[in-house]
């Protein structure tokens, strides 16, 4: 199973966009969309984050936020990526091939989106529209419910 540290390393190592560089809010949105994409296609999430939806936006707890800020900080100082990222991909805790399908889909999408466009996409997903503010959301369950109402949207 992929750990958050390995997932963050993989995303930061593979995400490249000069126009829209990685930042903590952008990374939170990428992680959320990755989990939602994985919930839709694999019926499970990847990051292990317990997402909460507050004010129609996915939020993480303080320790996860610190880890996200740390990873962007390391990227900014060009520490811990490149070679370490490549080595970490060999680890059993690195994202699997099937997990990388969801991650790569989201990073490819995100690198061409402005902060506003990425945020709007997050706010347009089924969980952010339907969830109560104080609940921890179960994205896999919601993906199943989403499958039943999708026909209204096509």
């Amino acid at each position: 199973m992929c750990t958050l540290t390995h997932l963050l390393t993989y995303i930061i190592d593979t995400y490249s966009s000069e126009k829209y560089p990685v930042s903590p809010p952008r990374l939170i949105n990428i992680l959320y969309l990755t989990d939602w994409k994985a919930a839709i296609s694999m019926h499970k999430t990847i990051s292990g984050i317990q997402w909460k939806i507050i004010d129609s936006e996915p939020k993480v707890d303080d320790s996860t936020l610190k880890e996200i800020i740390d990873s962007v900080d390391r990227k900014g100082r060009k520490l811990g990526f490149g070679l370490i990222g490549k080595l970490q991909r060999l680890s059993t805790y690195a994202p699997s091939k099937i997990e990388r399908t969801s991650i790569d889909f989201v990073t490819d999408f995100a690198k061409n989106q402005s902060d506003e466009a990425l945020s709007l996409m997050v706010k347009s997903t089924y969980p952010t529209i339907t969830q109560d503010e104080s609940d921890i959301v179960n994205l896999a369950d919601l993906a199943e419910k989403y499958g039943r109402v999708k026909s209204l949207l096509t």
Binding site: P24, M121, T125, T130, Q131, T154
Partner: protein, 228 residues
């Protein structure tokens, strides 16, 4: 000669240590500054998102005050999205329980909201009372008259008995949204009170506001198109 050589090496090593310490201190300060900037970026992002939501909430809260709504009422705004969906994009309720998003996504023909979307407006002020566990009459009315599904009626947090809903058109007369007023009380408000509030100019104002924020309001159909 030898002491001078030792002194030179000693002096050089001291100088290198000082330069190294200054460089480390500068770098450490730079790192702390970068971390602070990253933390601030999260806070700034939250603040921007909050201000966009506030526009609609403020608009609905003003209406709530004009109608003298209390903790048993709420106002919601649904926009049409995709083929046949209505998406909740704004809600105001004094009671936090009723302010929750609920289902968020409705079928365009379902309930009082869907009825208003199809027929300009819909109003009901006498949905049956729920006595304890006895919700048979309430369920019957919602399912038979207002085309709601039993499971969804049972899951409603707010079991409204008075509802008034009005369709909103854009400047090209295309139907784009529905505004819904609810109360858990029988005859919680009158149709006349809503008509007095929703004058032609007020509906135009709402329509223009919706057009203005169109690009920043959620669209699940767009999310679906993009693979989410």
């Amino acid at each position: 000669m030898q002491p001078t050589w030792y002194l030179a090496v000693f002096t050089l090593s001291i100088l290198l240590s000082i330069v190294g310490a200054i460089s480390l201190a500068r770098r450490s300060k730079g790192n702390a500054s970068l971390r602070e900037q990253l933390q601030r970026s999260v806070e700034a992002y939250d603040a921007i998102s909050q201000s966009q939501r506030n526009i609609l909430t403020y608009e609905l809260s003003v209406m709530s005050q004009i109608l003298k709504f209390g903790s048993t009422e709420r106002i919601s705004l649904y926009k049409h999205d995709g083929k046949a969906a209505l998406v909740m994009i704004g809600r105001y309720a004094k009671n936090p329980l009723f302010g929750r998003p609920g289902r968020g996504l409705l079928e365009e023909t379902e309930g009082v909201v869907g009825n208003a979307f199809q027929n300009d407006y819909a109003f009901v002020d006498d949905l049956p009372e729920i006595n304890g566990d006895d919700d048979f009459a309430y369920l019957g009315s919602c399912c038979l008259k207002w085309r709601m599904k039993e499971k969804e009626v049972r899951a409603l947090i707010m079991k409204s008995r008075t509802l008034g809903a009005y369709a909103i058109n854009d400047s090209h007369e295309k139907r784009i949204a529905v505004i819904v007023f609810e109360s858990t009380n029988k005859s919680g408000f009158t149709e006349e009170a809503l008509r007095n509030l929703l004058t032609e100019s007020q509906m135009t104002r709402l329509s223009l506001l919706l057009e203005e924020i169109q690009a920043t309001t959620p669209s699940p159909s767009l999310a679906l198109q993009r693979g989410f």
